[in-house]
Assembly symmetry: C3
Homo-oligomer: 343 residues x 3
């Protein structure tokens, strides 16, 4: 009888189910300006049409993580409204850059289901695709969340746990066809460090910090049309705090990583990601990175670099887990991604 969306519960999902998410979105220069006002973004390819054109692109695309947030936000009412935990990401691939004027929509397929032994929750695995107005896949990723059961008597489905790659190789990625870094302008980009200057195992402290405000994370989260109430309603949690959308931390850390990784221009793959601890207003976010791998690409002047990006609430860099293997309480994010760099 109620017309409002209660969200899906664990028993509402079935393997192979396809969910077309609501509210397509046309993006403009407004989304980019806001993204750069909310995060200290400075990657030149995403700031200047002229710079992007000198790299073979038709213009400056929307930041890759902004495209991710648009695609992700649409899934929230269908996938995570009743989620109790966001467990992981895998096999994320950015396949087509997004430009002002593009209209994005999202669709997800249920690829895994496993009821927990307590009988009250289960894990749902989805593969989500974002498509533009030409039905090109803009990006896709797998995500798994723990979702509550509403009807505790609903039978447990047959457990299906998908085999997801722990790490994508460059061969798994879809790189932008015309990208060409042979005429790359390191001065305009802001740092002289080439792909060849980074070594596997190298760690970089990005130094700068940003203290988080309620108005900013809410504006960001609304812009992506992510409606999970815990981000907006101060009366929702007993402690009166609004839980900050994990994607806000991802974008803040990525922006901070410019200082030391200014030439890690395009994000093309997401291997894994963990929101290690919750983030709240007043936290000061800092970030550090570690080079996990490097690989060639077939594109002129373009190398691929695999990076761990860690966001903390101000702890010393390079500390990640305690002796028992758990994330330190100051760690907010542990992300594993592939980016493209000039050689």
């Amino acid at each position: 009888m109620t017309k409002t969306n209660p969200g899906r519960f664990f028993e509402d999902y079935a393997i192979g189910q396809v969910i077309d998410h609501a509210v397509p979105r046309t993006v403009s220069g407004g989304e980019r300006a806001l993204y750069h006002a909310l995060y200290p973004m400075r990657h030149a390819l995403y700031s200047s049409d002229a710079f992007a054109q000198s790299c073979g692109l038709p213009g400056s695309p929307l930041d890759d993580l902004a495209a991710f947030h648009v695609v992700f936000g649409k899934t929230v009412p269908d996938v995570s409204l009743n989620a109790v935990a966001n467990l992981g990401y895998a096999e994320g691939r950015w396949m087509t850059p997004v430009y002002a004027g593009d209209t994005l929509r999202s669709t997800s397929e249920v690829i895994g289901l496993k009821q927990n032994s307590n009988g009250k929750t289960g894990v749902v695995y989805v593969r989500t695709r974002g498509l533009n107005q030409r039905d090109e896949v803009v990006m896709e990723y797998c995500r798994w969340v723990m979702v509550r059961k509403n009807n505790l008597d609903a039978p447990a489905p047959e457990a299906v746990v998908p085999e997801l790659k722990k790490v994508l190789t460059v061969a798994d990625l879809t790189l932008p066809e015309r990208l060409d870094f042979t005429g790359y302008d390191f001065t305009l980009a802001g740092e002289p460090h080439r792909w060849g200057d980074y070594e596997v195992g190298e760690q970089i402290d990005h130094v700068d910090g940003v203290t988080i405000e309620e108005a900013e994370h809410m504006m960001a989260t609304r812009l992506w049309q992510n409606t999970a109430k815990v981000h907006f309603d101060a009366t929702f949690r007993p402690d009166g705090q609004r839980l900050i959308y994990g994607g806000h931390v991802i974008s803040m850390a990525r922006a901070l990583s410019f200082n030391g990784l200014a030439n890690a221009q395009m994000i093309v793959g997401l291997n894994a990601g963990a929101h290690a601890n919750p983030c709240f207003s007043g936290d000061t976010i800092k970030a550090w990175s570690e080079v996990l791998d490097k690989a060639d690409t077939g594109l002129p002047g373009v190398g691929a670099i695999r990076l761990r990006l860690v966001a903390t609430k101000g702890s010393a860099p390079f500390a990640l887990k305690s002796a028992d293997g758990k994330y330190l309480p100051e760690v907010l994010l542990d992300l594993d991604y592939w980016a493209l760099m000039p050689k």
Copy 2:
């Protein structure tokens, strides 16, 4: 001698006076992105060019309430700088959708004047029109405010109280000519509920809540070039609080009403509106609606629905007034409007 604008006082108005308001405004995708960052807007017609085109429009218009705010904001320096109360709205009609690139200006005619018996204030009635660069009326509405006298010796004008319709009928409205909901995509719109699924008298609790921040309401109010100092200057009120522009509450409630009224796409008429109590930073806004009426339109697949939209600072839904007929202290807004829905 002073060059600053003291605002008009009650004795400065005359029946039939036409005031052309200052500062025309060209809107772009930037205004839309900001509007969707400040409010959790998700109506598909206002989010996606492709969706709007599938409904017969040339593209996705600026949200109807954003157009209202642009038109309204221009009137503040001339109409309400010395207002002590915003008393009511009537006969509001949205007549031409606003698109990126349009330039809006506003003009008001004084249609009523009535000095109060205390001799210190009076009520001013204006009919305001917003026009685009082609001199098409974008929207119009009547509003009446209580304004202070500056010269208490100024004679009272002859009292003129305009006869304003309590409720517009669909015949009074100007509907968008080419609108066609016969191919409406309910999946992309976010809810399956059609015009025929709503019954007069039905009440909907929109469930979600948003806690208000100073930075957000000031950004919104500035974007509409509304300069009433009480919204911006924390030293203006003895309690150190900034009074939030009533339109901020209207837009927040409308956005929250998506959950249950996702298909009430276009706002075409405003019958009445009351800002029942002031709103301040830290308030958590919730909303509920009641179906007041339904009507056919001549447009293919399009029904009209008349809705009461109530915003509260977190009280239980569906409570509006106390036994003495006064609004409950938790009620912020009581709005009566017509929207268009797919049949």
Copy 3:
């Protein structure tokens, strides 16, 4: 070995050195919408394409101070990351209006160096130019800052102190070629006061005040890609306060000056500027102006007016310095600029 930017120290500068600053920026309607949401901007030429076209321009440009912030922000990593004081501005000229779609970059030349007698710091003078995608100079200005030495043993450079004009004359300015105010619409602009109505020595209290929020100054500062950490990291200063970018105060004061100077449309010259005291969140900014000079221009219907713009944190207007010649503690900004007005 570190890949992050430590910033330049005093000994890293040399006379004649040219620094091409990083991260070019393409601006859109998004930047303007945000600028008008962050500051109460209402100058009609910068709000309406139709109004700007009636003044001979192809459309409404980006606000002059927004262009300044874009140009200035790029210089921060190279000029002021290790600055201990922002000492002054001179010879600022706006030469080409900026429109949506333009891509801006900045370049600076070191024009002066003088080590301080303490041997620990020195003053660096730069002339900065902002250029668009056609290599036209959008604006230029001189600025001098006190910068720390890193290597205290580095020899002092030969002292060079550039001769900078205390005040530009109209002949020094580059006025927009096609500007024509003969058909200027004073009603749409918001005030009737012409160039001829202002007298040298006249003072104007702009009346309105705005209380500053952390979220707003950080969004503004990030939008200009100004990364000085003191603006963002609440843990950076011992008192836990974020120092507000001086440009935020400049833009706020300029916007407030609309009330009394609505027709001071285009800023074309910056003679001098001092950030008299630091500004913090919670301060309520007010502004007053003084007419310092007036001059003819060769443009039809266009006069030039030289204005002092003072921002305070709420003190009485027209008080500037104490008997000992120091700025009063409530004074935040003292700016001296040329604007163009209709005759």
